[in-house]
């Protein structure tokens, strides 16, 4: 079975975690990447990170330089999932353009 569609939040989290980042950094990065459209609330991000850790799509790497904030990074599996989602989105865009004539 092909992979189910990711939520926008999860896709952006995986994109953000190509480089190690802490929770607050992810929130800021997702907002920046989406031009302010997607704003992740802390509770939602916590739930998503917990799920992604369980699935092995991300891992904890270390604490930041001040040693206070936990950092996360996407695993190879997580990156593969993000690439598969990108392919799915490209297919959507391609079919949309073709059928809507844009």
């Amino acid at each position: 079975m092909s992979q189910a569609a990711l939520t926008e939040a999860v896709f952006y989290i995986l994109l953000s975690l190509i480089e190690p980042m802490h929770g607050y950094g992810i929130m800021q990065n997702v907002e920046k990447l989406s031009g302010g459209r997607v704003r992740l609330a802390a509770g939602t991000l916590y739930g998503a990170l917990s799920t992604l850790l369980e699935k092995g799509w991300i891992m904890e790497v270390a604490f930041d330089v001040q040693g206070r904030k936990k950092e996360y990074v996407a695993t190879e599996t997580g990156k593969a999932v993000a690439r598969a989602e990108l392919a799915r989105l490209q297919e959507l865009v391609s079919n949309g353009k073709q059928l809507l004539g844009e």
Binding site: Y24, A42, G43
Partner: protein, 191 residues
């Protein structure tokens, strides 16, 4: 100078608690702690803080709860736990709008937890309430024996139960409607 206010909020009235704490912050009072419905505030700049409240039946003193609190604190929130409630506070300058959740699934889960809590806490009161209502109807119909027989035992507790249920019912209905709307939206939108 600190200020102490006695005010009772049932756990399920988290929105009322949020509104009250935000109002207090707008008046220049920041929450410090709570003990047995006594809320202690310290002076702060007016409108300097925003509050949101989360609820978990098992509370937040568990390992998972503590990890959640640590994460919120890493994201810039100050947290206070009050029984099954988690009160998160952020500086207004850091967040024009402050929400704990930004996806439908998390809100649905929160509303489900609150509705289940209302059911579990109010369920034992329903038989008492029914008993009182039946006794009252019987009295209105001219059969006051049941009311008289009950007056010394259950019926007064029954009326108290009806009162408590009447207070909980509007919140339950509000949560039910919000949850239903989100479930409908979730059929269409992805998160």
């Amino acid at each position: 100078m600190k200020k102490e206010i006695h005010k009772f909020f049932p756990d399920y009235r988290i929105e009322a608690l949020e509104t009250w704490l935000c109002d207090m912050a707008n008046q220049g009072w920041k929450l410090v702690e709570e003990h047995f419905s006594y809320w202690t505030f310290e002076p702060c700049e007016k409108g300097a803080y925003r509050y949101r409240v989360d609820f978990k039946n098992s509370g937040f003193d568990t390992d998972a709860g503590q990890r959640y609190i640590s994460f919120l604190e890493e994201c810039g929130a100050e947290c206070i736990t009050v029984g099954s409630l988690l009160i998160a506070c952020v500086k207004a300058e850091d967040a024009s709008t402050f929400e704990l959740y930004s996806d439908r699934s998390s809100w649905i889960a929160l509303y489900t937890r609150l509705m289940r809590h209302i059911w579990l806490s109010e369920l034992p009161l329903i038989p008492l309430g029914v008993h009182a209502v039946v006794a009252l109807i019987a009295a209105i119909q001219g059969n006051s024996t049941m009311l008289k027989n009950s007056i010394n035992n259950l019926v007064l507790w029954g009326f108290l139960a009806v009162l408590i249920l009447a207070v909980a019912a509007p919140t339950y209905c509000k949560l039910y409607k919000k949850r239903k709307r989100l479930l409908e939206e979730k059929q269409i939108f992805e998160s």
